[in-house]
């Protein structure tokens, strides 16, 4: 399925993502990594460590709603994956990103911006494996 090339919208979205990452560091001294924030929400270390995660997540959830209010329509959401593979892939994403200590936001943006060697290795690794997986599914298995 083709999707439209959107360089300006994507660049603007990326600038907002970066802005949020800088603001969270400036306000709370935390890495804006979706994996760490979500797992810390479900497995909190203390009650004071929990509240900021809950409010940050609530803000994230209202992102697509704000988009709808601003533009008058929901953002495109095309899911080409069947439900059983969404479950398997979801478990792999949660398991892998937790073991690897972060995902696209934590390692890919915040860690890379700090030039952290762990984040650079993690980002190159998951990008390579994502590309490989997409190639196998689309071109070798023909899905």
């Amino acid at each position: 399925m083709e999707t439209e090339f959107t360089p300006w919208l994507s660049l603007f979205g990326g600038i907002l993502i970066g802005t949020a990452s800088v603001l969270l560091m400036g306000l709370r001294g935390r890495i804006l990594g979706a994996t760490g924030i979500l797992s810390g929400f479900f497995m909190p270390e203390s009650s004071t460590d929990w509240a900021w995660r809950a409010f940050l997540l609530a803000g994230m959830f209202t992102g697509p709603v704000a988009y709808m209010l601003l533009t008058g329509s929901w953002a495109a959401l095309d899911v080409p994956t069947p439900m059983n593979l969404l479950v398997i892939g979801g478990v792999l994403v949660g398991l892998g990103a937790s073991l690897g200590g972060g995902c696209t936001s934590g390692h890919g943006v915040c860690g890379m911006a700090r030039l952290s060697p762990r984040s650079i290795v993690a980002t190159l690794t998951f990008m390579a494996f994502t590309g490989l997986t997409v190639f196998v599914i689309r071109h070798l298995m023909g899905a």
């Binding site: 979500l38 479900f42 997540l57 697509p64 997409v134």
Partner: protein, 148 residues
């Protein structure tokens, strides 16, 4: 007040993810499908986010502490271990299968779409599995060598 500010940080992130296309799996998968229906948009997401964060962090770290906390909570490990590489590889396979990464999927929960909710619930289950595995086997497999 601090929590309200934190809420708005989340809103900026969620809006950015939505506008950028990171919460649309078809677009994400097309970024990686160089041999097929390639859509290079996500390079612009990554580029925009990295430039802003790279410069912004350097300004923020001039301060001794963040505004609402006594210190910065920044990871300082530099060692590359099997857990980092193996975990990232597993994450990549899952991202390739679904087109959802955690940062893309979490804001999309706000749409209430049942496919996003299914993915998100499975992802949280995977996080609990990681915690359990680390606790059960961590001392043997992962912490055999002391972290520097």
């Amino acid at each position: 007040m601090r929590l309200v500010a934190t809420y708005f940080v989340g809103l900026v992130f969620g809006l950015g993810i939505t506008i950028s296309g990171m919460s649309n799996p078809a677009k994400v998968i097309n970024f990686f499908d160089v041999a097929g229906t390639w859509d290079p948009s996500l390079a612009f997401v990554m580029g925009g986010a990295l430039i802003v964060t790279f410069i912004g962090y350097r300004l923020v770290f001039r301060a001794k502490a963040p505004i609402c906390e006594p210190q910065f909570y920044v990871p300082n490990r530099r060692d590359i271990d099997a857990k980092l590489v193996g975990g990232s590889a597993i994450f990549g396979v899952g991202w390739g299968i679904t087109g959802f990464c955690p940062g893309g999927a979490v804001p999309a929960i706000g749409t209430g779409d049942y496919r996003v909710l299914t993915f998100a619930a499975s992802m949280v289950a995977g996080m609990f599995l990681a915690r359990w595995l680390t606790r059960a086997y961590g001392r043997i497999k992962f912490s055999a060598q002391p972290a520097e």
